[in-house]
Amino acid sequence: MGRFIIRRLLLMIPLTVGVTFLTFGLMNLIPGSPYTNLRSNPRIRPSDIARLEEQLGLNRPWPVRYVEWLGDLLQGDLGRSMQNQVPVIDRISAVLPNTLLLTTTALIFSLVIAVPLGVYAAARHRSWFDRGTNLATVALWAIPNAWLAIMLVVLFSFKFKEWGLPSLPATGITSPRGGGDLMDRIKHLILPTISLGLIQIGIWSAYIRSSMLEALHSDFIRTARAKGLANRAVLFSHAFRNAFLPLVTLVGLSIPSLFGGAILIESVFAWNGMGLLALQAVEQRDYTLVMGTTLMFAVLTMLANLIADVLYGVLDPRVRVD
């Protein structure tokens, strides 16, 4: 196990280099620079722009700058944001907790709904409940989550307010006036969580249903039933435990798509997180910040995958991860 983890950690090094090299190259091939907007301000001279770009070192070829960036990274320095000169690490650590909070609650929300749904659908295979769930999950899967988010805002923020019902906030993490307490934060978390989690429900419940079905047709279930165990015990203690194992891997593998979804959801809800930070970094051609956020996403993704693999080995003695 130890050797497996070390090997996987070592493998992360070339992966990181590859990901960051590609990102750095692509970013620098897009037209523009952090100072593009200054180019259309008549009060600013071209020589000023050249001077500012030189101060950021942008006049040198990007592969050279990439190597330098990598060198700084080895010393633990992510550089400063080109937009506002704040250290990249500070900008990331300011918003990372927000994204982790959102993705975690969304994941929990989707699993809490999807697991019972999938289990009961499998237990009542080919019933109306099963068919209904099936249809609903496929439909959920097909909904673009940014659209869903906007619809939820229209309904629960605007329409509810119009109808005089208790409405939910449309944007932000706290209210501007007298906000910031726990209740206020929870209220702000509800709609983003649902928007991000609802789509995952489709994936999880479909998955659990099929692996439950597989488990339910196994010999050990027949044995369990033959022993006269209650249906509930058979479902949860025996079948689900088996069906649950592959889910661990799947959850690990879904982390990237969760972060990807978070970019859209954070934009809709003005949720000050990593996705939004990355998006704005690209729009503003803030090269150092783009690299910092990319690196963070890449590392989080690789770590999540690693943890999933390790957990899988721990939970299922039949799997030997080394």
Binding site: P31, Q85, V95, Q280
Partner: protein, 574 residues
Amino acid sequence: MKRFRGAALRPALAIALALGLLAPFAASAQDSSPSPTDGVIRSPTRQEIHAELQAAFAETDEPAQNTEGVYVTGVTSDLQSVNPYLVESSPSLDVVGLVYEGLYNSDPRTGEPIPTALADYWEISPDRLTYTFYLNKDARWHDGVDVTAEDVAFSLEALSNPATGSAYTGAFNEAVDSWQVIDQDTIQIVAKEPRFTFLYDIQGLFIVPKHIWENVPFEEWATDPGSTGQDPARIIGTGPYRFNSWLQGQEISLVRNEDYYEHKPNFREYLIRIYPDAEAQFNAFLNGDIDAIGLEPEQVQVVENTDGLSWQSWPERGFVYYEFNLDPSVPLFQDKRVRQAFMWALDRESIVNDIMRGFGEVATGTHPEISPGYAPDRMTTKYTYDPERAKQLLAEAGWTDTNGNGTVDKDGQEMSFEFLYASGSPTNDTLVAYLQDAWRQVGIDMQPRALDLPTLIESTTSNNEWRMAMYGFGWDATFIQDVMFGCDQTPPVGFNDMKYCNPELDEIHDQAKREFDEEKRRELLIQASDIVNEEQPVGIITFSVAIGAYNDRVHNYHESAWGNQSYVGLWVEE
């Protein structure tokens, strides 16, 4: 004054406004006739202007019933810095402009320079080269230290030094020759040229406290915690607000400066919330999170139908225009009759009413209503909707449809090309679709292509591949337009993407810059406007009308083309 994306772009417009705000002022003080005895031009005093402003707003403003409110606005991009020399974007300028002050401010009614900040008044010498500023003796830094001429001299030095990293250093050094501290409360700044635009050219001259910054080498200003906002104790200005906090990507908080020397704000805290885009900001406004916002024409109906929200509109400096590539290598638009035909083919009344929902004004000449150069009746040609005239002009220039394909041609070349514009605005998309259709009616085949703004700017400034493009723009408060039409203003110097050149026009602009007499300057502006209107190097489609909406808990809300003056009498219910 920056380029923005045409018909519908609030944030960029705000940039133009903010720059106007900053670039304080130019007219009234200098326009006042020189004193008959010594030829010196004296500005009004701070006390005189203050009394005048109070009288002007006394009629409309109700007294504040709550002075402990929180005023919340939104922006769509985070701050660049809280150091006034290191910001160029509108939200950043708006914020630093509340914390730091310059020597003068712009008149909320006219945009002219007025001494409501760190100078009590100023004098311009008879040769129009030496500006003597008499400093405001009541002003204190937020930490209680007195503001002196040494602070001003230190600020001038910081702005003139390239190491500071200010984008305005080049323009500043081109305009300023030298400066000299006369005594604790008097400083002289000497211009290189006797130009009425001088006070614009030293735009961005905010005054920073010497006692805070003197020990920081200029090259470290950008990364100093007093610039990045990470150490609020180092953010010391003189303005009506003190810097309180900046939560990156989320919120900036300013609090009222209780020791401000003049009219203190009527609310305790000013919160600026950061949104990823205009939609999220609009949602926050509808939901009551923020108090005021700029609107797109299509959003007015929603605001109209929502209880507790109101809106206002006012004419402003922005406009939407298309430009031709007039480089000699591109023969298509060399004949001015061809360029005029483009304008005759447009039904601009319909553009204003149907596409801009009434929020716009058909442009005649290059000056909007609020400019001293506004004189539609004095233009030689008034373009109306006349497609027959357009066809006739094209034919006169040799462009007819010889092969019957519906597109005019000349010497085997079809009048067919790509039309570039900025993506992201539905109003722009509709407008361009209309242009395509209207020009098609007269035999011009234009294919629209939307690009993101940096790519669009790159396309029209770095090579000659482009043919036509559409942009939004806004003149600065001098309304002198050489930045767009000057022979020497081709990219990357100015906005003359067209490579248009008319030495006669350049001469008029140059005279206008040196003319301190308002009436004479106005005549020059009108002459210049008529030349451009006749030659059509660009086609100005419409001038913009800005729309601002506010929550009814806000009182005494008024904005103008000269920037937000909410701080004058605005108050917010609890």
